[in-house]
Structure formats: structure tokens, C-alpha cells
Symmetry: C3
Subunit: 208 residues, 3 copies
């Protein structure tokens, strides 16, 4: 990487790290919420704040991008990366909010399992994002990205099991609507994790 040779006004990798760390924090809060539903409201509020903080990071990154003459990656890639990480945090927050406004009293084991996959995926993604700083770590980044793809597959399997059980057992249609939505939103968080892994892999593909 040329990164060390060039002067830089702003550390974009630092922005990525911060946003990815926020995705991890959001994921852990979602898991906490699904495991301790009695405390749903304060946890949901905390998650909301993480989302706003991530919006700020994204916003500032794009502003800096407009002021920087030299960037360590293609400008478009920096732009897409920060937007896509922000998407993860947005959807993690949406999943938590849904449990709150659907008036869910007690989450299911499937929801907990999905939250665990989201935590695992976001942790691996944060490592992958951190590895972008150095070409020496590209192979490790690629392996981390593959783990993120595996997380998405695992979440997909949990979703299928959860929905099959839901349609087999739950006779109250409104409960079906709520849980189908919660499971699908949680599974979509892993799609957004995969999107960032794809952007990361694309950047490496271009630079290697």
C-alpha cells in the first residue's frame, strides 16, 4: 500500500474502524435486548444513540472526502464503504425498534440465535475493516469476509427454521406478522454485513 508514503489530512481508515465498532456495539445491544426483554426500553434508546453517532461518523467522513485531495482508496470506495457500514447500524436499530413498537413481551430462541449471528458477523467484519490498512493483511481480510458470508448463510437457515415453526404453530395472524417481520429484519442485517464484505473484497480485488 502507498498509504505511508502520502500526506493525509484525514484518516479514513480510522472512520471505517469507528463505524465498524459502532456496528459491533449495536449488534451486542440487540443481543442484550433479545436476552433481557424486561430492559427493552433503555437498551433500545442506547441503540438509537449508537445509530445517530454512526450517522455523524458517516456524515463527517463524506465532508472530509470533499476536502481531501489525496485519499488512500478511490474516493467512490470510501463513500460506498461508509454508507454501507451505516446501513448495518440502521437496520440493527430497526430490528430492535420493531420489537419495541410491536409490543413484543418475550423474544424467542430463534431471535436470540439470529442476534448471536449478527454479533459474530459484525465482529468479523470489524476485523476485516481494520485489516484494510495493510496489504499484508489482505489474505486475512479475505478469510474474515468468507466468515461474514457464512454468517449470512447461517442466519438464512435460522430464518427458514423459525418461519417454518411459526407457520406450523402460531394461529394468531397478527403474531405471525410481527415475528415474520422481526426474523426477516434480523436476517437482513446479515445481508447488509455481507454487502460490506462484498465492498471490501471488491476494493481488495481492485488494489491487489
Amino acid at each position: 500500500m502507498l498509504r505511508r508514503l502520502i500526506p493525509q489530512e484525514y484518516d479514513f481508515f480510522e472512520s471505517f474502524d469507528r463505524a465498524a465498532a459502532q456496528a459491533v456495539t449495536a449488534a451486542r445491544l440487540l443481543l442484550k435486548l433479545t436476552e433481557n426483554f424486561a430492559d427493552a426500553d433503555p437498551i433500545a434508546r442506547e441503540l438509537n444513540e449508537v445509530e445517530h453517532a454512526c450517522d455523524d461518523v458517516a456524515h463527517r467522513t463524506i465532508e472530509q472526502l470533499n476536502k481531501s485531495f489525496i485519499t488512500p482508496l478511490d474516493r467512490e470506495d470510501i463513500h460506498v464503504m461508509i454508507l454501507r457500514i451505516d446501513d448495518i447500524v440502521d437496520l440493527t436499530n430497526a430490528a430492535a425498534n420493531r420489537m419495541a413498537y410491536f409490543g413484543i413481551q418475550r423474544p424467542t430462541q430463534h431471535a436470540i440465535n439470529l442476534a448471536k449471528q449478527i454479533v459474530r458477523g459484525s465482529e468479523k467484519l470489524a476485523e476485516a475493516v481494520h485489516g484494510m490498512r495493510s496489504a499484508k493483511q489482505y489474505e486475512q481480510v479475505m478469510r474474515d469476509c468468507i466468515t461474514v458470508h457464512e454468517v449470512e448463510n447461517a442466519a438464512d437457515d435460522i430464518l427458514h427454521t423459525a418461519l417454518a415453526e411459526l407457520f406450523a404453530k402460531e394461529k394468531n395472524a397478527i403474531e405471525v406478522i410481527k415475528w415474520k417481520d422481526i426474523y426477516e429484519t434480523m436476517e437482513k442485517v446479515t445481508d447488509r454485513l455481507e454487502d460490506v464484505a462484498n465492498v471490501l473484497q471488491g476494493v481488495i480485488v481492485k488494489m491487489s
Copy 2:
């Protein structure tokens, strides 16, 4: 911008302006429909025609792109811009169609509020799109894009309130399905507005 210095066979900015104006027209028709549901059918038909007209603009733009040697923006950016504006009009039309084929008799205040945000967002986006013609207006374009992001946040808040109320009050599951879908589709229109704002910001990021 180099635009004035180079010969051009086709005015791509004019295409963007026309497509963005169609998004504004579509948004206003959606608002009109949610406010005057007695006239739903003729308004929905008018919106359908706007959608077809926007398809034509997109189609012709891509055709011209293949014939043009010199373009004012990167060819890929022109392609993505016109596709993403077309997506807004498609989804605005889909939201209106849903109200029609769900047999909705009377829209709710939440639907009207969402439609108002869609109008506001599409108007700001049309201004931002127009501003792309000149580097002098880039700062204003960036501000307009931020407004589009705010519209998406506002629509998200309306969606949450609307769904919380829907699940708290409506006991008929089929009504829940219909309204959940309508609210979510309308909120997704603001996501599509934000997508174009992101493309716009990305283009400016690249050129500045």
C-alpha cells in the same frame, strides 16, 4: 466543470432534470391520491402514465449514452443516476397501486404525512439534480442532499409511529397486512430518494 468546453450530442443533465421532475409529479399525485381517495382511479392512472414516461426517458438516456463519445460525467455515473431516479418513480407508483388493489377506502393521516415527506424529498432532490450542472452549486447540492437524508429520517419516524399505532389498535389482521405494506412502501420511496442523493454526493466527491 469542463462541460461548456466540450462538444455534446446529447444533454444528459436535461435527462436527469426531466426524470427528477417526473419524480416530483409522481410524488404530488401520490399526495393528491392520499388526500382525495374518492378520485383514486383517475389519479392512479395518471401516475401510471408518469411512470411509463420516466421509463422512456431512462431508456432513451441509455441509448444516447451508447452513441456518445464524450459525456459530461463518467458513463457509469450517468447510467446509475438515471436508473436510480427511475426507481423512485417506480416505487411511488407502486405505493399508489397498492392502495388501489388493496381496496383501501380512506387513507390515514400517517399515509398523508408520508406522502408529504415524499413530495418534500423529491422537490429537494430535483433541485440537487439541477445543481449538478455547475461546480459553483456543489455546496448547495450537498445541502439539498442532506435535506433528502433528513426526509428519510422523518419518514422513518412516521413509519414507526404508524406501525406502533396499527399494532396497538387494529385487530383485523388483513387490515394490518395492508397498512403495514402501504406504510413500508411509502417509507421505501424515501430510501430510493436517499439512494439518488448518495449517487449525487458520490459524483461530486469524485469530481471535486
Copy 3:
């Protein structure tokens, strides 16, 4: 195209052809499933295997991309192409799985009609993908892509008719949830077909 003049370690066009052929196979299995629901389980299993095989093709393509110094298209375009074709196969498989885990006994004529559009769209897309190899075929590729857009429009119309009928006739809310989801997932497959057509058109736009 410069393709014949340059040395190549790996035939990326061959990868695209294989993935696109897998999308066709998946579409035909989905149609077979909707027409012969008594054999749903073995057909769904076969479709699952096609999905895994397509994952492998995508995976290997990205690996090769990292090892190749010279590529016939921009590296990013190869990356996006293979990911987007894989998305088609994923969603075709998801549509079939839904019918299985929703415990659907007998598909409707609307589902069969949607499956037929998916077959038609994926066949045309496979032809378009194959045509990318040679600039002489670009006009034909563009025509094939337009057919894919028409397929998406046709699927949209079928979806609207199917949903209007569903909401008018079906009084069991859980059946409404299931069928709405199946129809919408099938229609989304045609959106993914259109996504690849857009990538293809974008690549041609850039190269011509």
C-alpha cells in the same frame, strides 16, 4: 474486444456463462415445482444444490480475480457481475423454499405465471451474458436486456393482479401472509434479473 490479444489465466466469461446457466436451471426447477407440487421436496433439494454450486462458481471467480493480472473487463465489473448473478439463484431458491416451509399444498396459476416469466427472463439473460464476449454482439445483448426489463414489467403486472385477487377473495389472514410473500419473492427474482441486465448494460456503456 481485446480479449483474444491478451494472455489470460482464467476465463471469466466462462464463469459468467456457468453462473447464468445455473440461474436458468434454478428457474426451470422453480417452474417444475409450481407445476408439480406433489414432488416439491426432491425438487427443492435439487434447487438447493444448484444454489450451492453457484456459490462455488462465485467464490472461485473472486479468488481467481485476486490472482489475475489482466482481466477482460474491469475487475470491479467482474466482481459485481458474478455477485449479482448469484443473487438471482439465491432468491429463486428462497422462493422455492418458502413454498416448502409455508406448507403450501397447491400453487396457484399466478405462481405458475410468475415462474414462467422467471424462466423466460433467465434464459434471455443467459444469452445476453454469453454475448458479452464479443463487441459484435453488443446490439443483440442490449435487445436481450430490454426483454429482461419487459419480463420485470410483466411480473409486476402478474403480482398486482395476484394481490388484488388475494385480498378480494382470501379471508384467512395467514393464507394471505403466505401468498403475498410467495408472489412478492417471485416478483423480486425478476428485479434481480433486471439488476444483472443493468450491470451488463453498464459494462457495455463503458466499453463502447
